[in-house]
């Protein structure tokens, strides 16, 4: 069984374009980046970071990310961390080879992408992460039982966020603009995990949020990455 954020099964693809990538391949943050690389058809090499041996806190990893987190991107001399910053960099760099996911051509549109990406990072993740951790990680990794109060707190936060999304998505086909953007895609990894839990109903019971999720999940790049997230 794959455990989110931990062991990787081997390398993924040989690098041709000089872009190295060091990460565990199934953490949500890593998936976020892989998704963007996939949307742009960018080549990358995935290098595992072994959480079981706490490789993420080893000196050689800390030299890349002093916070001891994954993923980290290496592109030539550039070392970058924080998955959304990496995603923005990759999407700008490869903008001519895929959909326009950051909308830089318009100040107003790119501002909307930034806005809903902040909402994803600040509001959405705060609700969904404890649900994911308690339901999917605690039993598998710690052999424990989910803390129902933490799940309930997460659900309460997530419900508020999804209510806002439902209203927003009744006005706009996607969160930031009518077209899909990084702001939408950033939601995919955790949403995918949650769909395997009873909390899927939080999305399914909201028609616009459901349609939005269905359209994201059906994108070829999303299918490819989410297939690696869970077994």
């Amino acid at each position: 069984m794959l455990i989110p954020g931990f062991l990787v099964r081997g390398k993924v693809r040989r690098d041709h374009g000089g872009e190295g990538f060091r990460a565990s391949d199934i953490g949500a943050a890593t998936a976020r980046v892989l998704l963007c690389l996939g949307e742009m058809g960018a080549e990358y090499e995935l290098v595992p970071v072994d959480f079981f041996t706490r490789e993420q806190k080893s000196p050689h990893h800390l030299a890349r990310n002093a916070f001891g987190l994954v993923p980290v991107l290496e592109d030539g001399d550039l070392l970058l961390f924080e998955s959304r910053a990496i995603a923005r960099y990759v999407l700008r760099k490869y903008k001519s080879s895929g959909p326009d996911l950051v909308r830089e051509g318009s100040l107003e549109e790119s501002a909307m992408v930034d806005l809903w990406l902040e909402v994803e990072a600040q509001q959405y993740e705060k609700g969904i992460l404890p649900i994911f951790f308690q339901i999917m990680v605690v039993p598998v990794l710690y052999g424990g039982v989910p803390d129902e109060k933490l799940v309930a707190d997460g659900v309460e936060k997530l419900v508020k966020v999804l209510d806002v999304y439902e209203a927003r998505l009744s006005q706009s086909k996607h969160l930031a603009v009518d077209f899909v953007s990084l702001a939408d895609l950033s939601h995919v990894p955790f949403a995918h995990y949650i769909m395997a839990t009873p909390c899927a109903s939080l999305f399914q019971s909201r028609p616009h949020a459901k349609a939005w999720w269905d359209s994201l999940a059906s994108r070829p790049a999303c299918k490819k990455v989410t297939a690696a997230l869970l077994t």
Partner: protein, 221 residues
């Protein structure tokens, strides 16, 4: 038409936005939102900011919330004036984005409970969660140790120029240092302390501090 910033002057997130406007020399009007009477949770406000938080801005036809999205927008819109706040190359820009996210995801989660428990709740005469504040202080200290390493290599977080990545830290950190009795968190870190003294000496930040203290509502450069 002047940019309108809706929020409370003393609040951290509106200060981030106003500081950015002052760095760029862009006039604005601060429209006071009365947090104390829960104006930000009323339906009219929620129409503009559905999470019931400040600030939001109105710039012509554009309405925007989330202070870090707003400052990115302002820095891009006014790229031609004032300091360069976004980096000059794609790689520099990426570093700015990285440290903006570090502030949002690794720094703010500890800065916020410190300011909330040690400053905001006492002002409101409400009991604070000392344990939560204490735990947050320990976490923030560890984060600042990482900043110390970075700032021993670069003058500012994202490189050798002041950018949005430094700017977004200032309002909350000011309260931590000046109002929560926690200046020692920075004082024992040589490079963090030097960085802090430098960024808070910026004329635009001093202007913003004075604007807040004097109850300003209209700014013109």
């Amino acid at each position: 038409m002047v940019v309108k910033v809706y929020g409370k002057a003393q609040a951290v997130c509106p200060q981030r936005v106003m500081h950015c406007l002052m760095e760029k020399g862009v006039p604005f009007e601060l429209v006071h939102v009365d947090i104390d009477t829960m104006e930000h949770k009323r339906p009219e406000f929620l129409q503009k900011q559905p999470f019931g938080q400040v600030p939001y801005i109105v710039d012509g036809d554009l309405e925007l919330f989330e202070s870090r999205a707003i400052v990115r927008y302002l820095a891009a819109k006014y790229a031609d004036r004032g300091p360069n706040l976004l980096g000059r190359t794609p790689e520099e820009r990426a570093k700015v984005e990285q440290w903006l996210d570090v502030e949002a995801i690794n720094y703010n989660p500890w800065a916020f409970p410190i300011v909330f428990n040690l400053l905001v709740l006492p002002i409101r005469g409400l009991p604070a969660n000392e344990a939560e504040a204490g735990a947050a202080v320990d976490k923030l200290n560890k984060v600042l140790e990482v900043y110390e390493k970075q700032l021993s290599k670069t003058k500012y977080l994202a490189g050798d120029e002041f950018t949005l990545a430094d700017l977004t830290h200032i309002p909350a950190t000011r309260y931590i240092v000046e109002n929560c009795g926690l200046s020692h968190l920075l004082d024992d870190k040589k490079h963090v302390k030097a960085w802090w003294e430098d960024i808070t000496a910026r004329p635009a930040w001093k202007k913003l501090s004075s604007f807040v203290e004097t109850g300003g509502s209209n700014y013109s450069p």
